[in-house]
């Protein structure tokens, strides 16, 4: 099964379990006490992850010793900064099995997805090489109901700009993608299929490789939102079968302010730019300009070198532990969480109830207690979770809930923290008289 083959699992007894104590010692913030002295229990890594000392040190070292503007100037610091920035590109490429020339640094996963969507409408006024990206009336953009707004709204806007039609896969009551009408939805009219690699709400992992195969059979481009997958399991772009993959550094132990768009080289070479300005030009005349090849074509402005260095350090950190080990640890926490939280009377967990093709996002509703109020009680106990619709409003609507409380697990979380979450939910029920 393709989806399972993308998911690296424990290879028998070959892999020792993750040493949570040692990992936690690398994250200074986890030593913090919050709200009246409770030790911090951070279960909001799906929103943003905490950063290990190694990432913080890498950024500090960069600013302390090397800092200059990359790809500008011929002084020593500029050379070192350029090397550090380009070195980070090589490191990130290696992390996902790509070529460095296929890695574009953006400011976020959101911007990476917008880059593709805007390049497609910009294709209308670009040269013949951009033909592949043109969309207009009669063309269809296919998304899913489980997308984060970042992989939905840019496509809605692309349709508004071009006259293309937005269509979407629904979700099953279990929160899986409903692919029953895939053969009807994906047709020769489909120009883009944009799909998440892992739901940020239910953790559901759609069979992206299968969807990509179907999409490619009809000549559609496949854009994958990897913001919730790349930080948590080994992702190899060759196995993924997609054309574009977006993810952000801050969800994978790296700094905020930098994201990544991976794209197939031949596509990037034909794709018009989104943001234009310095660094991305070949020749500029008053009458018009020509652009550099990728990746520079898509990186206007002084690049975020320190952030790239931090992201590379995060890749080192994750690979040092091993993504298979990270994934196995989170899978165990998720199984524990599903069992402990779903067992509480009056609590409904959204999404799949097993860890099969499911990542570590645990969203739930508590009868009689609004998610804000659940989150408030948990916060009082030092437990940080997310409440609301988690930028996936249509998914919440499809699953018949207005908002949820969401706990997300990462490599530094412990089984005791999962138990504390379940206990906190019971306290919220008690406080609001809902138990």
């Amino acid at each position: 099964m393709t989806a399972a083959s993308e998911t690296v699992r424990l290879g028998g007894a070959a892999l020792s379990p993750l040493d949570t104590e040692a990992v936690r010692a690398d994250f200074p913030i986890l030593g913090r006490a919050v709200r009246g002295g409770h030790p911090l229990i951070y279960l909001d890594s799906g929103a943003t992850s905490q950063k290990p000392r190694q990432v913080l040190d890498a950024e500090r070292d960069f600013y302390t010793v090397h800092n200059a503007a990359a790809h500008r100037g011929n002084h020593l610091l500029a050379e070192e900064t350029t090397d550090a920035y380009e070195g980070a590109r090589v490191r990130v490429a290696e992390f996902i099995g790509a070529d460095p020339g296929e890695i574009i640094f953006t400011k976020s996963a959101t911007e990476a997805l917008n880059l593709v969507a805007y390049a497609m409408s910009n294709a209308a006024t670009a040269g013949p090489e951009a033909e592949r990206f043109r969309v207009g009336p009669g063309d269809e953009i296919l998304v899913t109901e489980m997308e984060h707004h970042a992989n939905l709204v840019p496509w809605q806007q692309l349709c508004l700009r071009t006259g293309a039609t937005l269509r979407w896969f629904g979700v099953t009551p279990e929160g899986r993608l409903d692919l029953s009408n895939a053969a009807e939805l994906i047709s020769d009219r489909t120009k883009v299929v944009a799909v998440t690699h892992q739901s940020n709400v239910t953790g559901a992992v759609p069979p992206v490789a299968d969807i990509a195969r179907l999409a490619h059979a009809h000549g559609a481009l496949v854009v994958v939102d990897g913001a919730q997958s790349v930080p948590h399991r080994s992702v190899d772009v060759a196995a993924l079968g997609a054309d574009f993959l977006a993810f952000s550094a801050h969800k994978m132990l790296g700094p905020s302010g930098i994201g990544v768009l991976w794209g197939r080289r031949e596509l990037l070479e034909a794709m018009p730019p989104y943001v234009t300005g310095g660094s991305m030009i070949e020749v500029v005349r008053m009458e018009g300009s020509t652009f550099l090849p990728p990746p520079e074509r898509f990186e206007a402005g002084v690049p975020p070198a320190a952030q790239a260095v931090g992201l590379a350090a995060a890749c080192d950190y994750l690979d040092g532990i091993g993504m298979a080990r990270v994934h196995a640890h989170e899978e165990a926490l998720t199984a524990h969480g599903l069992e402990a939280v779903a067992a509480i009377p009056g609590v409904r967990v959204l999404g799949p109830l097993t860890t099969e093709n499911r990542g570590g996002a645990l969203s739930f509703v508590v009868d009689g207690v609004h998610p804000h109020d659940v989150g408030q009680v948990l916060d009082e106990l030092g437990i940080a979770v997310r409440t609301g619709h988690h930028c996936a409003w249509p998914l919440h609507r499809a699953l018949g809930v207005q908002a949820t409380t969401r706990a997300t697990f990462y490599l530094y979380n412990t089984h005791d923290e999962v138990d504390a979450l379940a206990d906190g939910i019971r306290q919220a029920q008690k406080f609001f008289g809902a138990a």
């Binding site: 009246g36 804000h372 009082e380 609301g388």
Partner: protein
């Protein structure tokens, strides 16, 4: 726990037994406000009447989905403004907004705010201020619309 200072008994009472909930006729303006971060929403109607040439809040009715703070706050709002002149009600609303923005630093005026002083603790939790203000902002918007529609002195009694 600090929870009791945030969720004072008055708030929990209003949450469990909201006042004036449900949408009613007649009304002069209706608005729909959402809190985009969490999806909480309120549909709120305002009916005004004229008393000696001054607009008075005749009724506030609403339908809302949301947390205890937003539900209770909207319920308390109706207690505070119904029967008051629009000018008085706007003063209360301004005082409530000031309390919410005080970060817990100011002493609320119970004479003006009545039960709404119970929301004092919310000001210490910036993430919840929008919850407390949802109904109040909707009321202000609906009232402004009702006044604009009526025009100066356009309405006598309803």
């Amino acid at each position: 726990m600090e929870l009791e200072s945030l969720y004072q008994e008055i708030i929990l009472d209003h949450y469990r037994h909201p006042h004036r909930k449900g949408l009613r006729e007649p009304f002069d303006a209706q608005v729909h406000h959402v809190n985009p971060t969490c999806g909480d929403e309120v549909t709120l109607r305002v009916a005004l009447k004229d008393a000696a040439g001054e607009p008075v809040v005749a009724d506030v009715s609403y339908d809302a989905l949301g947390c205890s703070i937003s539900q209770a706050s909207t319920s308390v709002l109706t207690d505070m403004v119904v029967g008051k002149t629009v000018a008085e009600a706007m003063d209360i609303s301004a005082e409530f907004l000031a309390l919410m923005q005080s970060r817990g630093e100011s002493e609320p005026d119970e004479d003006v705010l009545g039960d709404a002083v119970a929301f004092e603790g919310v000001a210490k939790y910036p993430a919840r201020i929008k919850c407390a203000l949802l109904g109040w902002m909707a009321w202000k918007d609906a009232t402004a619309r009702a006044l604009a529609e009526a025009g100066p002195g356009a309405k006598d009694d309803s």
